[in-house]
């Protein structure tokens, strides 16, 4: 009954997800160790985004939520990125 409110994720899946996240962590530490110059932030942020995406999809069950909620989450992130980008229109050209 109550199970049709929220999806149940198997232990195994959760374990695999953790493994993936650990891998990402390891990756991000090694990658920033090598000198990539200005790209190292980009890479670090990309990896962080991948991790965040995974956490939300599996740990936070977003995968099994309504389309509406998914859209809202996307919208919030897009909004935030827009705000940062717009702020940089000022700072980058000053």
């Amino acid at each position: 009954m109550a199970n049709n409110v929220s999806h149940t994720t198997e232990y195994r899946t959760l374990g695999k997800v953790l493994l993936f996240l650990m891998l990402c962590t390891f990756l991000t530490i090694t990658v920033t160790g090598i000198h990539l110059g200005p790209f190292s932030v980009t890479v670090a942020l990309l990896i962080a985004c991948a991790k965040a995406y995974t956490v939300m999809t599996y740990f936070m069950h977003l995968k099994y939520e309504s389309l509406l909620l998914k859209l809202l989450v996307g919208f919030v992130f897009v909004l935030f990125v827009l705000i940062i980008l717009i702020t940089f229109i000022d700072y980058a050209f000053r």
Binding site: A2, T8, L14, L18, T25, S40, L45, M56, L69, I83
Partner: protein
């Protein structure tokens, strides 16, 4: 929505409280968002100083904390799974591990901060104003952001403690676990923020 309407009230409450929790998470994300804006601006302005300052942080401690949080995120998700499967014992153990990990995180943080404070590096200290601007801003932001994050950890722990008791005394049960679910969601939020804090604070050298 409409069709479910005449069913038992409780289901709809659960859905509402979950939606409410997500909205609250949005708020929290933007709360940290403000700090991330400040961070990115100052990093842009004081690029070199930020790189140098971040050398002062120990990547090892940061990595251990990252792992602790990721692990706890998994265990709390498992606790929910266990609850859904009506496995009270596993659920309790999993919440317990989560809390333990949170404690590990805080202890680690305590030593990390303590180390900095010993060196006179803390907001309001006599040393801070003598640093050049980039370093000053980096450490101010460091304390501010990790401090606010640590505060969220503590709030999350309190929430999970309440869940622990409620699972134990049976007021959270497989038919009604919205509180646990929301507590878990909150805990994942704490993890999410750390996922970004870690590379931005520790890994920019």
């Amino acid at each position: 929505m409409s069709e479910k309407h005449n069913h038992v009230e409780e289901h709809r409450d659960d859905e509402a409280s979950k939606l409410g929790m997500w909205l609250f998470i949005f708020t929290e994300l933007l709360l940290f968002g403000g700090l991330f804006i400040v961070y990115s601006i100052f990093r842009h302005e004081y690029y070199q100083a930020f790189r140098e300052s971040s050398l002062e942080l120990s990547v090892t401690i940061g990595a251990i904390n990252t792992i602790a949080l990721l692990f706890s995120s998994m265990t709390v998700a498992m606790a929910l799974t266990a609850m859904q499967k009506n496995d009270k014992k596993t659920a309790l153990i999993m919440i317990g591990i989560t809390l333990l990990m949170a404690l590990v995180f805080l202890v680690n943080k305590y030593f990390e901060w303590g180390h900095k404070i010993e060196h006179g590096l803390y907001p309001g200290s006599a040393l801070m104003p003598l640093l050049d601007r980039g370093h000053l801003l980096y450490f101010s932001l460091y304390f501010f952001m990790t401090g606010l994050h640590a505060f969220h950890i503590i709030v999350g722990m309190v929430l999970l403690f309440i869940c622990l008791f409620k699972v134990k005394n049976g007021s959270i049960h497989p038919e009604k676990y919205a509180l646990l679910e929301n507590g878990a969601l909150y805990w994942h939020l704490v993890d999410l923020i750390w996922i970004f804090l870690f590379p931005l604070m520790y890994l920019i050298s």
